[in-house]
């Protein structure tokens, strides 16, 4: 492993003290022309916590995470990472500060091998010849296999196509990749929304594991059950504002569900459907 290139960072040892704030935003505002997508959102993400971001469609979840991950620049408001005021020009900047985002569908390329996906954009280089850098495929295969084993996915061959993995496994590979390349903060955008029950369990288990390792995780979902299974704190967004942040002990599943739907409508619907929503 002495020939590891600088492009490949070792897994970081996160600071042990849990509760250290990794990301703090205060009064974040984002306008798109006349549309006010975020009207002053504040939230804190600590290390070793899963902070669930809940809200219905149009609540501003996507805008918020895209701002945190460097896709959008906030119109106004404070954005502090590791105690330092930041302004990201691109997702690359956010990545450099250890903030990685795993999007629901845009994470993996099914036609490519696990190894090629895992190292896409950050390939370990064996040697250079003129303008060309040769990939150290054996090393890459080994790392990919180890990382997969750590998550508990047995792969026959890391050269097998990602398309042969299940949805939950793909999501886990994408997350493991972000962690491998030094993410301290993970933003997971609806990681379970397209998955079946068993597959969801695989992902939630992995998220819980990472929480114990001291990473800070922002978990976006509109499934309150999934959020409640792994979350320490919950922030509910509605129409570009926060309806508050709650510790798990402070709030029940039902209350979260109702808040998320904007209180009234769902309660009525819930009665009509006999409590199945």
């Amino acid at each position: 492993m002495s020939d590891v290139t600088p492009t490949e960072m070792p897994v970081p040892a996160p600071a042990p003290g849990p509760g250290r704030p990794l990301i703090e935003v205060h009064n974040l505002v984002k306008h798109f022309g006349p549309v006010i997508a975020l009207a002053g959102v504040s939230l804190t993400l600590n290390s070793g916590e899963v902070h669930c971001l809940l809200g219905d469609n149009g609540a501003g979840k996507s805008t918020l995470i895209k701002t945190l991950s460097g896709v959008f620049r906030p119109t106004s408001g404070d954005f502090v990472v590791d105690g330092e005021q930041v302004s990201f020009a691109s997702p690359r900047n956010a990545l450099d500060r250890g903030i990685a985002t795993v999007y629901q569908d845009l994470a993996m390329i099914p036609l490519l091998s696990i190894t090629r996906n895992f190292f896409m954009g950050r390939e370990p280089v064996k040697r250079r010849l003129g303008p060309f850098s040769f990939i150290d495929m054996e090393h890459a295969d080994r790392i990919a296999r180890e990382e997969m084993r750590n998550i508990g996915i047995n792969v026959r061959d890391p050269q097998q196509h990602v398309g042969t993995l299940s949805g939950g496994e793909r999501q886990c590979v994408a997350i493991a990749r972000a962690v491998h390349f030094g993410a301290k903060v993970l933003i997971l955008d609806e990681p379970t929304s397209a998955l079946g029950v068993a597959q969801t369990a695989v992902v939630l288990k992995f998220v819980r594991q990472l929480r114990q390792k001291g990473l800070g995780i922002i978990f976006i979902t509109h499934n309150v059950r999934h959020a409640y299974a792994v979350g320490n704190r919950f922030t509910v967004l509605n129409r570009g504002r926060t309806l508050g942040t709650f510790r798990k002990a402070q709030i029940t599943l039902d209350r979260l569900q109702t808040m998320m739907a904007g209180d009234k409508e769902l309660a009525v619907l819930d009665e009509e459907l006999g409590g199945t929503v």
Binding site: P91, A107, L112, E138, V155, R156, D157, Q160, G163, T164
Partner: protein, 377 residues
Amino acid sequence: MAEQPVTTTARPTTATIGDERLARQSAVHRIMARPALGAFAGVVLVFVFFGTVANGTGMFAADGVLSWSTVSAQLIIVATGAALLMVGGEFDLSVGSMIGFAGMMIALPTVYFHWPIEVSVLFAFGGALAIGFLNGLITVRTKLPSFIVTLASLYILRGLTIALSILFSNRTIVAGVKEAAGDSFVSWLFAGTIGNGLFVWLANHDLIAQLPNGEPSVKGIPMVIIWALGLAAIAHVILTRTTLGNWIFGSGGDANAARNVGVPVNRVKIALFMFTAFCATVYAACQVFEFGSAASDRGLLKEFEAIIAAVIGGCLLTGGYGSIVGACFGALIFGVVQQGILFTGAPNDWFRVFLGAMLLVAVLFNNMIRRRVTAER
């Protein structure tokens, strides 16, 4: 056919810890996952067919082999560029027009402005790369399908080729390149032969036929074959072994996903358009120096032949999947069938019928493979 750098040394361990539900299938699976498989089967098929039907027609004598391998090599040159670009998720329909235009960029300055031949050749390559760059830039900037952008280039370049050759020379075939080139090394570089001594030796030992004047029936290996093998080998290594190759797969497989992890997708695509233009110019130069002239209808329909070869070779039209080795097999099938039909004396019209059928079969086969290999669940 090692188009994927699968590490054989790592196998035994996987077999023991692998998923027992899948392990039995894996050998078949791995072979099926090779994009070039279908094309390889096709090559075997056409050789068996013509080996039987055209045996004794001279198709497999030295000069016969030369004829179909030259035709195949020409197509390999452009198919290599097309395949790499297709894996990168784009098309270039201007390849054929580029061949005509590049030929004119060599011939016109040489014959009518008396530029040294070396300068004209450099000018042609420079011009072609610039046009490839433009094709790429327009495609990535406008986000229009490259199909449309390069369809425009197809017409623009073909029109320019005819218009400029008439403007400067008042004809559509510009001859006299051979005379102007003399014994310049570029003439040898694109239309010479190598291994001449070997072929004399082979002829003297009756291993290949001799002409009545005692010369061997084949002088040597034409440079067009060397170019084809060289370009294909380099493209193959780049695609399978380098970071750039990984980025090409990523750009074609899912440009957004690749961008999210920092792959410079736009630069990769522009470089690929430049490479197809480069390949087209190599093709053009080989023809110009072989015939000693440039003609404004050169390269007609070559863009489709290049794409067909790439598709037969396993490239997916949607990008992100394919191989150079496969595209070479595709081109070889092309050359063997085209010349084989001549040797057997069958009407040449059947060649197109065969091509269309072959394309259809290849696409169906590729789709089936892709479903089985990647999207089973």
